[in-house]
């Protein structure tokens, strides 16, 4: 008779007994006798073929019977037989057993990767198993989408809700002229699948927000930030930190770009570098300040390179280094970045433990909650483009000032407007009579509003800002005026 110790969860099958004495000369016989006596126990220990289930280890006293004589191990009176599950695990599936195999076509397609020792079959399988989220299908998203697809990333998600605009074509090479007016997400996905029909593309046609970000990001291995505004940049950063997903970052302006990796374990996050957003309006967007069309190609491909390196686990990543690129000087520089212990989202004393209102944080209106432009009523001190047109047609006595830059004036202008760039404005104040009727415009109404405020502070009474600027003029008055 040997004593079999019954694990807690199995006692329901043995009439609540924690130990059962059963006859048998070997461990195998003991177990047979045990399951004969308690048939419900059989399914727990043996599989359908009558073999011990893979997670069950049998111990005789303190020894695993696998290292004794297995089922034939003699069991004497007073011996104790224990059933011990083998338990292991881990947060990630273990490569290479878990990674998807490559098909014959894929081996041919990726042959130039496979013969690089650092990539090889194992690396290419990692790329195939990888799930990457692109935030934005614009300037940075274009090269990222094309090259990450070509490189063999198995699953790419895209977040974008914008439509292809004519002004995008100068840099967003994933979209063609015939795509103007189409959803960027559809246009991008089509080009990517054309490169690799095996690619799985998930389209998230939404504006990334505090409400949906965690839900969208959680299914991806890493996130590539191709956004062009501060609220989304902070949102992506915080969501990546909270979920523990690397954020491959890039940003561009005119001739300069930056790239690094945020939210990687042990590395800094975007907030470590920039705890607070710049005051609204200080840093112009690409739409306001312009960008060399090729620049997002350079920066996007640095992001793509870092993404692939992270997935492969090779090389020296940009974690902790901010790479700065100056296209005019054709120079790269780098700055060391360290995690900030005071960082509110990844530091020692965190105050941000969930996503916040990022538009409020950045001091900018939420474009989605703002009323559509055509419904905005004119405020005191504002004039519409149609009213301006009537004023010009009537030949009213007034001064029309354009506060844009000379290079913008060269592109288009409203007839009769006097060009005084905003920066030179204060020097020209004395040219106007204090009671003059003054109307000021710029590209879309922002700079001219500041000029109006400046004049009012200096005692001018009749100063009005052209709502919507020359863009509205082109839309509503004279379509022959080119938009830029």
């Amino acid at each position: 008779m040997a004593k079999v110790l019954i694990p807690t969860p199995l006692r329901q099958f043995t009439g609540k007994q924690d130990a059962v004495s059963v006859p048998g000369g070997t461990v195998g016989e003991v177990l047979s006798a045990l399951t004969a006596q308690y048939p419900d126990l059989r399914k727990q220990i043996f599989n359908d073929e009558g073999k011990l289930r893979s997670f069950v280890n049998v111990y005789l006293n303190d020894e695993d019977i696998r290292y004794l004589a297995k089922n034939e191990t003699p069991a004497a009176d007073g011996d104790t037989v224990s059933l011990v599950p083998s338990i292991a695990g881990g947060s990630t599936a273990a490569p290479p057993a878990e990674t998807p195999a490559l098909t014959k076509d894929e081996i041919l397609r990726y042959s130039r990767h496979l013969i690089i020792p650092e990539v090889g079959m194992e690396g290419q399988q990692k790329l195939k198993a990888a799930k990457v989220l692109l935030v934005g299908a614009g300037g940075l998203g274009a090269p990222l989408g094309l090259y990450l697809t070509a490189a063999g990333i198995g699953h790419i998600g895209i977040v974008d809700f914008d439509v292809v605009d004519f002004t995008n074509l100068q840099r967003q090479v994933i979209h063609s002229t015939r795509d103007v007016g189409r959803k960027k997400i559809d246009s991008a996905a089509e080009k990517m699948v054309a490169i690799n029909p095996e690619l799985k593309v998930t389209k998230h046609e939404v504006a990334l927000s505090s409400e949906n970000a965690l839900d969208i990001l959680k299914d991806y291995d890493l996130v590539v930030d191709g956004t062009d505004n501060f609220p989304t940049r902070y949102l992506v950063n915080d969501a990546c930190v909270l979920l523990g997903k690397p954020n491959v970052y890039g940003s561009i302006f005119r001739f300069e770009g930056q790239s690094t990796i945020f939210a990687y374990p042990g590395g800094p996050c975007y907030r470590c570098l920039y705890p607070e957003p710049p005051p609204p309006g200080l840093v112009p967007s690409c739409a306001e300040g312009g960008v060399l069309g090729i620049l997002p190609g350079t920066i996007g491909l640095i992001q793509a390179t870092e993404t692939v390196k992270l997935i492969l686990g090779i090389g020296e990543s940009l974690v902790g280094r901010l790479l700065l690129y100056d296209a005019l000087g054709m120079r790269f520089r780098e700055l060391k970045l360290r995690p900030n212990p005071e960082c509110p989202v990844c530091g020692d004393h965190r105050t941000i433990t969930k996503l916040i209102d990022y538009h409020q944080f950045c001091g900018v209106p939420n474009p989605l909650s703002a009323a559509p432009a055509q419904e905005t009523k004119l405020n005191e001190g504002e004039i519409s483009v149609t009213e301006l047109k009537q004023k010009l047609d009537r030949g009213d006595d007034f001064v029309l000032i354009d506060v844009r830059e000379p290079h913008e004036y060269q592109i288009c202008a409203i007839p009769g407007a006097k060009l005084i760039p905003l920066g030179e404005f204060p020097k020209h104040v004395e040219e106007f009579a204090a009671d003059a009727d003054i109307v000021i415009h710029c590209k879309s109404g922002g700079r001219s509003a500041r000029a109006c405020g400046f004049l009012r502070q200096n005692g001018f009474q009749k100063v009005r800002n052209v709502v919507g600027g020359i863009l509205a003029w082109s839309d509503q008055v004279d379509p022959s005026v080119p938009k830029y």
Partner: protein, 138 residues
């Protein structure tokens, strides 16, 4: 459902934080009344996985046997296993599933950047193909 009392809960979280960036593992002892499980003691066990332990753990059966013995001596039952997922959600991964056992509750603690983030309890099935989420309170 499974409820973890304060003292064992704190020792589990502490164990997981100290093991970061590696995974930790241990046993949960307590009592079972029908479907209601109460953990009143946690036993830290060694992660015996040979290799990088940032994303893997392995329990030695001998250690589990010892935990079961300790439970019996204290008039308790071995009712579950816990382990941590550093910088990763507390889901039941494929690796977890394939090396699991349907007899016990599996509590997974998500440790993000060295700090406790969230936890879930899982009940794997016999075929090691799926795990149901178990209501967890602590």
């Amino acid at each position: 459902m499974i409820r973890i009392e304060l003292e064992p809960w704190l020792s589990m979280v502490d164990h997981a934080r100290k093991a970061y960036p590696n995974e930790c593992c241990g046993a949960m002892l307590g009592t079972i009344d029908g479907d209601a499980k109460v953990v009143s003691a946690a036993m830290a066990l060694e992660n015996a996985f040979e290799g990088a332990q940032a994303a893997r753990y392995e329990l030695r059966p001998e250690d589990l046997l010892a935990a079961d013995k300790a439970a019996r001596e204290r008039n308790m039952d071995l009712i579950g296993i816990y382990h941590s997922h550093p910088d990763c959600d507390a889901y039941f991964s494929k690796t977890d599933l394939q090396n699991s056992c349907p007899w016990y509750s599996f509590v997974v603690l998500s440790i993000q950047k060295g700090e406790f983030h969230h936890a879930n309890s899982w009940l794997p099935n016999f075929d090691q193909t799926d795990a149901a989420k178990e209501e967890l309170s602590y």
